[in-house]
Amino acid sequence: MSMLLDWQQRFIAAMRTSERADADLGQDNGLKVYRNNIRHSLVEALEIAFPHTRALLGERFFSALANDYVTIDPPRDPRLNRYGEGLINRLDYHPALENYRFVADICRLERARLDVSHADDAISFDALQLSQHEDLHELYVLPHPASRCVRCRHDVAEIWDVMEQGQKATALGPNGPGYWLVIRRQRKVSFHRINDNSASLYGILSMALPLGATLDMLSDPSDMGPEALGLALGELLGLGALAYAPDYQTSSLKDSGTLL
């Protein structure tokens, strides 16, 4: 192994523990500065990304969770606005949050907001364009690059709405799991509860199949059926959640999200 690689591996190991490091890594007081810098910057990135999650968990719990998370799962991308996806999973399974699993849903919505905020733009595909297209088997329509479909396991609609207005969170709603469409149009990100069929259609369209084949498949009575499919397509078109595939940049395809 190269001398530098060995040194850098031992240096990172020393960043993960406060135990005395090998002498060739430097002095303890200086190593502590680097250790604190790494931890502080990553925790701060999570605080900025997930303000509602932080408010729900409380300062102390969020801080402990974030400090634990940044040690175990440092970013793989130097772009810090991409960091924190794995925090959702920890909220889903953290033993102390057994009665607060809905916080993971709020975290999902916050993650989706960040993702669509930095996604590429595209012109939404609308009903008029659809009606004017001669051959749907040659038409490729994809989810809009600045949109995400999020499945929440709890009815967090009211909690989300009041937190967005800067008020204190209320109780969970009476409904069960459900899908949300998060979409950015121009500068504004909006959140919409959508029905299950719309979410299914969104997911299938992300596979970049010809629209005609997709509609043929889903309109079969053994699947969605024509009426439900029409409603789902109408809901997605109405929200501007679809984009004509040739308008899609290749880079956007790589960055586009599917179901969170």
Partner: protein, 306 residues
């Protein structure tokens, strides 16, 4: 490895050129609207807007969105400096090809006046540690830094500036002094240097380095930009350490060092960093005015800027 003359003949930025002694500030989201307004109102009035803006590359490597749109708009009104913090030039395992492509895309889209990175590393086994970690100054590091700087310059088709580090540890395994390392890197790759005055002060203080000797050995011909920033002092550490936190105004000792350094290259642009406890734009512009005063104090009699 690319000889330095090849870099000099490479395509250079077609974006706005920085004026002599330009003073810029860091670009923060919260100031973007006000900076646009000032640019439209400035109409050539000195002191109402910074001369240029420096952005952290990693904050703007997005496919689109309002932040990106705002940056494009700002680029129409201000010369830009793209300052990378995540390329990890000193990483033993090399630099991330995808990240280099993202940087190239950003630089191509903005045609900035300056592009810079650090004598530092932050990446190991595909994980990114989001700090500017110290590079041991040994032969292998020199080879790796030079190879990585060369690769970046080749991909971007232009020279980059590499910033001197702020250090908190003294490494006994070093076989080069920092200035020897920088000189060799400049000679081999044709890169420029970003001389961070605050970092030079901090490293000298923390390492017990002879600052005058350090200044005497800097390859000033290669320096392309000055950085200034605030620092703090951690008195809990034993011994106490100066911390490069960019969270306060520039300290007097750093202004004094700035006055010494700029005599070497009066025409270079100066960037005032402020990344934590970010002040309002008015307060930041006061630091810009102060920088002009310090420059005036140095050059008013010598006429060095004329």
């Amino acid at each position: 490895m690319l000889p330095s003359r090849s870099i000099h003949s490479m395509h250079q930025p077609s974006g706005p050129v920085l004026g002599k002694g330009a003073i810029g500030i860091g670009l923060k989201y919260q100031h973007a609207e006000a900076l646009l307004e000032r640019a439209l109102q400035a109409d050539g009035q000195p002191g109402s807007a910074p001369d240029f803006l420096e952005l952290h590359a990693e904050n703007y490597m997005n496919a689109g969105g309002p932040v990106q749109d705002q940056l494009v708009e700002l680029a129409r009104h201000y010369p830009l400096s793209v300052h990378g913090v995540g390329l990890s030039l000193g990483s033993a395992e090399g630099i991330d090809s995808f990240h280099l492509e993202r940087l190239n895309t950003l630089v191509e889209s903005l045609s900035p006046a300056l592009v810079s990175e650090h004598l530092a590393w932050s990446r190991l086994k595909g994980q990114s540690y989001n700090d500017l970690l110290p590079v041991p100054l040994i032969q292998e590091s020199l080879e790796i830094m030079c190879a990585n700087v060369d690769r970046v310059q080749q991909r971007l088709g232009r020279q980059i500036l590499v910033e001197n580090p702020s250090l908190y540890i003294r490494l006994d395994i070093n076989t080069f002094s920092e200035t020897d390392f920088l000189n060799l890197m400049v000679e081999r790759t044709g890169c420029g240097l970003l001389f961070d005055v605050n970092n030079a002060f901090i490293s000298a203080s923390n390492m017990g380095r002879d600052l005058s000797a350090y200044l005497n050995e800097i390859p000033w011909h290669a320096v392309g930009e000055w950085h200034l920033a605030g620092h703090s002092r951690d008195t809990q550490a034993s011994p106490a350490l100066y911390i490069d936190d960019h969270g306060s105004p520039v300290k007097d000792a750093v202004w004094q060092l700035y006055q010494r350094a700029i005599r070497q290259r009066p025409e270079l642009p100066t960037l005032i960093e402020w990344d934590n406890n970010v002040p309002d734009l008015e307060r930041w512009m006061e630091e810009v005015t102060l920088a002009h005063h310090h420059r005036h104090r140095v050059f008013s009699t010598a006429g060095a800027l004329s």
